[in-house]
């Protein structure tokens, strides 16, 4: 999601108007550049209204994978006592319960981006913790959780 599309649209417009336009000598070419710039502004406005949808899906999948992680880690705690595991489970549950403000019709883009970032941060912490645990505790459930996380990452490339 980085750079965001609005930044890209801004960048294309900047290049058209500041780098290309001054190099043009015909009024026909200058008019075409202006039309391109206006078109980009229109596409940008449309994008602002549709950008939410892929993020809604990714955030839902992230929540599913983190919920699975929470369940697996809680089950693991019965056999494998570890303080950081406790902390991580609490962190996952807290993030899953956190509420993000939504707009009137759809969730606001900014809010979805923030949610996406926070969920991914918890996922990164989970990946790191799974690596540490695997050094002195092996279990099929943890292996399957890792596979599930990797499948999620591949799906959302």
């Amino acid at each position: 999601m980085r750079p965001t599309f609005d930044k890209m649209f801004e960048g294309i417009n900047y290049t058209l108007l500041n780098d290309i336009m001054p190099e043009l000598s015909s009024s026909f070419a200058m008019t075409r550049v202006l039309i391109l710039s206006l078109t980009i502004n229109q596409i940008s406005a449309i994008w602002q209204n549709t950008a939410q949808f892929p993020l809604i899906e990714e955030n839902k999948d992230l929540r599913d994978v983190l919920a699975a992680a929470s369940r697996t880690l809680k089950a693991t705690k019965q056999d494998y006592k570890n303080e950081s595991l406790e902390g991580l489970t609490r962190e996952i549950d807290a993030e899953l319960q956190r509420e993000y403000p939504s707009g009137e019709d759809y969730p606001a883009l900014q809010s979805l981006l923030e949610e996406n970032c926070n969920l991914k941060e918890v996922l990164v912490n989970t990946i790191t913790a799974l690596e540490e645990i695997s050094r002195d505790y092996k279990s099929q459930a943890l292996d399957e959780l890792r596979k599930k996380i990797r499948a999620h990452l591949r799906k959302h490339l």
């Binding site: 294309i12 970032c117 990797r150 990452l153």
Partner: protein
């Protein structure tokens, strides 16, 4: 700009008279430095001299925040070797001349290998084979340079064991931590894998650090110069092989850097350099290469997103990061 360049040349060449600058223009290519080409003519002690120069100036923001002094020093040291490189004239740190530090070097003949040159077109396998051979020959030259003999110990000699791998992992992990704009789970997975699989280095060599088809010039079936040495260092020679093997450079073919078969690449390299190719190490450095390339792009994306650079190329590269992540996922068996 022309006046400023003329003033600088006069400062560097006080004996030059009737100095004129022509064809000064920004050259497309490379996003880590701004390249300005020009021709200069002058008279010195009665002799008329004409030379083509390139100024490589630090940009306001770029993909790479690299050490221009290191690149300058490596290229100067390599002048006495068979590695085709431009002659370095001056390193200028004083910003009073052109607002930002820069180096002045010889402008080499030849064109870069963009898709437009036809080098990668299937209809010209003979040209491609000739270039491919020289590509490997240059790599073998770089890896067999007597780096101690030409004074390159000063750029930092890694210790025996896993230090070469550790240094590179550490370097790029720091870049990712500094420049990422959002959490990077795939890079996290890849960094964990790299730390668990660090290879030992048997032989330390000079490493180009960005050895690929975009970084040479060619003319009349001959590679005239290998450029972009800003990531060069002493390390494991397999690092350059791993980097060159990345799918990212394959030009939509299965060929290494769009030039030659992997087996051919390894065999010819071994014959020329006498260095045995360790495919496991090459694999490690291919994974590292994907992480490094992503880190480099993240630096550019941050500059672009924060408005420090308006270069759309930096933004565009950010949008193709999923291709690198896909390569990582394939390599690590996700």
């Amino acid at each position: 700009m022309e006046d400023k360049v003329r003033d600088y040349l006069k400062f560097r060449m006080p004996k030059a008279e009737n100095l004129s600058i022509t064809n000064l223009q920004t050259v497309v290519g490379g996003t880590s430095r701004e390249n300005i080409a020009f021709e200069a003519e002058w008279t010195e002690e009665g002799r008329k001299i004409a030379r083509s120069f390139i100024i490589r100036r630090d940009p306001t923001a770029s993909l790479l925040e690299t050490d221009r002094e290191l690149e300058y020093r490596v290229l100067q040291s390599l002048e006495s070797t068979p590695v085709p490189i431009p002659k370095m004239y001056w390193l200028e740190q004083d910003e009073k001349w052109l607002e930002r530090p820069f180096v002045v070097m010889e402008k080499m003949p030849g064109t870069p290998t963009s898709a437009r040159t036809g080098l990668f077109a299937p209809e010209d396998p003979v040209l491609r084979a000739k270039i491919a051979n020289q590509f490997v020959e240059i790599l073998a030259h770089i890896h067999t340079v007597d780096w101690e003999g030409i004074g390159l110990s000063s750029i930092g000699v890694p210790e025996a064991g896993t230090d070469c791998a550790c240094r590179e992992i550490d370097k790029w992990e720091k870049v990712i931590d500094k420049d990422k704009l959002e959490p990077q789970p795939i890079l996290t997975e890849a960094l964990l894998w790299l730390k668990n699989n660090k290879p030992e280095t048997g032989r330390i060599t000079l490493v180009h650090g960005d050895f690929k088809q975009d970084n040479f010039l060619f003319e009349n079936e001959k590679i005239t110069a290998f450029l972009d040495w800003e990531m060069s260092h002493l390390g494991d020679p397999m690092e350059d092989l791993g980097w060159a093997c990345m799918e990212w450079w394959r030009q939509d073919t299965h060929l290494i850097c769009g030039l030659l078969e992997k087996e051919e690449f390894f065999r010819y390299y071994e014959n020329l350099s006498g260095i045995k190719v360790d495919e496991q190490k090459v694999f490690f450095y291919q994974v590292l290469g994907c992480v490094k390339m992503t880190a480099i792009i993240l630096t550019g994306v941050r500059s672009f997103s924060e408005g420090r650079s308006h270069d759309i190329t930096l933004g565009l590269l950010g949008l193709v990061v999923p291709r690198l992540e896909n390569e990582l996922a394939n390599l690590l068996g996700f």
